[in-house]
Symmetry: D2
Subunit: 135 residues, 4 copies
Amino acid sequence: MITTAVHKVNFYDTDAMAVVHHSNYIRWFEIGRVEFLRQAGITLTELMEAGYVFPITEVSAKYISSGYFDDELIIETSPVALTKAKMSFDYRVLRAADNTVLVTGFTQNVFTSRETGRITRLPDKYYDRLKTMLD
Amino acid sequence: MITTAVHKVNFYDTDAMAVVHHSNYIRWFEIGRVEFLRQAGITLTELMEAGYVFPITEVSAKYISSGYFDDELIIETSPVALTKAKMSFDYRVLRAADNTVLVTGFTQNVFTSRETGRITRLPDKYYDRLKTMLD
Amino acid sequence: MITTAVHKVNFYDTDAMAVVHHSNYIRWFEIGRVEFLRQAGITLTELMEAGYVFPITEVSAKYISSGYFDDELIIETSPVALTKAKMSFDYRVLRAADNTVLVTGFTQNVFTSRETGRITRLPDKYYDRLKTMLD
Amino acid sequence: MITTAVHKVNFYDTDAMAVVHHSNYIRWFEIGRVEFLRQAGITLTELMEAGYVFPITEVSAKYISSGYFDDELIIETSPVALTKAKMSFDYRVLRAADNTVLVTGFTQNVFTSRETGRITRLPDKYYDRLKTMLD
């Protein structure tokens, strides 16, 4: 299942080359990931309150075309792999107006116990919700 | 006592007008404030571990001249008022190369208990260190 | 006329106190201002292409209540003063879920010629559109 | 040749997991890259004034250990490949206090004409300075 989220490029997202600063897409992958989890019935707040954190272990991005101020962006998020200990996603960021793909990317994160800081296994309660999204 | 901190303008601090985005100076006031506290012998980490947070209640800034990529900035921080419950500072951000004042500003923050979220009084241990900085 | 814009708090908008970092509201005032201008029929891109930039000369904010990850925020923008050389706005940022006012604020900006860097007067073409919003 | 740059983690660089938000390291790779170019005798301002921009086409990062507020970071930058049309770098970000490697990464960028937006070849004047850094 691919989920979509929308983000409008703010003026403060641009840099002196008058395009979106490349680091922002890494942030917007997070918007996509959060939306994916939400559609799975999981919020990061709930996970954190249950004692889990979910640090990113890997990020990559290919920049194909520049984004500009006021562009409406579509962030597509699709699951790549899921175990009880880690999760990975692919992303595509498109400009809504003309469907141009601006950026593609990938992230991996692990589930970690807030208390011990060690990698941990996500309980079935959450894992099962995520698994249904992979079909 | 006025303390100084240094920040070099990064490319990612600029916007499509090819100047520093105005919101960044509010962040750099924080760099100045953290340095002021450090010179008083206080780190935010120590305060947080002791159960205190220090939310900002007021911010203001006047923008006099634009900052540019690669500018070396001096952030001057001077205390305005200090009680056991709140703290306020004035700031001046100057370009080191020509001493131009780019921005002046003000912040106020309160001391809050992490647990209750309520305004609290800073223990003498910290308060006394801060007080010596006001002379 | 008061315009409203919506912003959802991202995880990357939070800080180690687990609340929205105060500097972000200054950025979100910009979201409100851009939306106000859009409703007046003006985009920043159009202004920049016509040779105008619009640097902020003054910002202030009062922080009343903390914002949290995933909060849906309403940014209300209302014009305070308008001349051909400058423009000022008041803001209120509310949490949509319970209508709590999180932050109130003010900004002023001037219109500047991109070429000369000097304060300039906005042509009637734009000024008239803005004026109708003040009624 | 490997160059090093220093960055102190600011409070605003942290997120609600009380660690550095992962997107910031992508920004700090830029600090490393800018420093590398500076040591080659090239500033981005000079390149832009000469009509060149240098959009990022690829970024990747592996996150090994968390960074915290107030950590002093060392950003190591080493050239991977250089042609007149593109440039790529490897990065390591270490915590100065204990030499822990927090993040490793890679970026590639192309040289583009500001006017045409097309990929262009860097003049010898700049290329030669960069080449000496590869030895």
